[in-house]
């Protein structure tokens, strides 16, 4: 998919080093293959809308940025619930597909499922092309 990943928390780079070496490397062989960035003071988290001033940390937020450097998608969760990585991958694939083809991906689209091509001929005829059950896996 050719995606660059960066992970950011308010921890120091020293904490990142020990976390990678002592814990992450036991979950992922060789450690996670992306940089761990240190957002001391939440300066960056503030402009991304994820800095919790009461707790002094960046909460769980993720952003998909396209090659033109525009934000395509964002998801922000309070910390107790982890992410759905499959959904992240699906969204990246969907955005890559629409940029490449000019087609659009209906609800529940997965790679290989039908896409839609917007235009006058499709107006009012989506019901022929797409059924609600296609919104689910």
């Amino acid at each position: 998919m050719g995606v660059e990943v960066v992970a950011i928390s308010t921890d120091s780079r020293f904490s990142h080093k020990i976390w990678q070496e002592e814990e992450l490397s036991k979950m992922v062989d060789g450690g996670v293959p992306f940089p761990l960035l240190s957002d001391a003071g939440g300066r960056v988290g503030t402009v991304y809308g994820v800095y919790d001033e009461d707790a002094g940390v960046d909460i769980r937020g993720r952003f998909i940025i396209d090659p033109d450097f525009n934000i395509r998608a964002m998801e922000v969760l309070t910390p107790e619930v982890g992410r759905n990585v499959s959904e992240l991958i699906r969204q990246v694939k969907a955005f890559q597909h629409v940029v490449e083809t000019g087609e659009v991906t209906p609800s529940g689209w997965q790679p290989g499922k039908p896409t839609l091509t917007p235009g006058p001929d499709l107006a009012g005829k989506v019901w022929k092309e797409w059924k609600p059950e296609m919104a689910f896996d």
């Binding site: 992970a7 928390s9 921890d11 080093k17 814990e23 960056v44 090659p67 934000i71 910390p79 955005f95």
Partner: protein, 82 residues
């Protein structure tokens, strides 16, 4: 030449462009306050932060990846549970 790493390593943090500067809130108590600038369909706010990667410390600037698809993940802290 980059300065030798020490206890403290400055990074640029949020990198202001003319566009984002005008979006910052007016100066209050002599200090410019930032507000959320990230919006879907709009340019990503650029930043540079210190990082740990491939066994060493270095500063990473988001716009160095311009031209590629990028995923930015914020998380509450190292050694947290989820």
């Amino acid at each position: 030449m980059e300065k030798k790493d020490g206890c403290v390593k400055p990074s640029k943090g949020v990198i202001q462009t003319e566009e984002t500067k005008s979006a910052a809130e007016p100066v209050q108590n002599g200090k410019e306050t930032q507000k959320m600038l990230a919006k879907v369909g709009k340019p990503a706010p650029d930043f540079e932060l210190s990082a740990f990667f491939e066994g060493g410390f270095k500063n990473v600037r988001l716009s160095d990846h311009k031209g590629k698809w990028i995923v930015v993940c914020f998380y509450p802290g190292d050694f947290t549970f989820v």
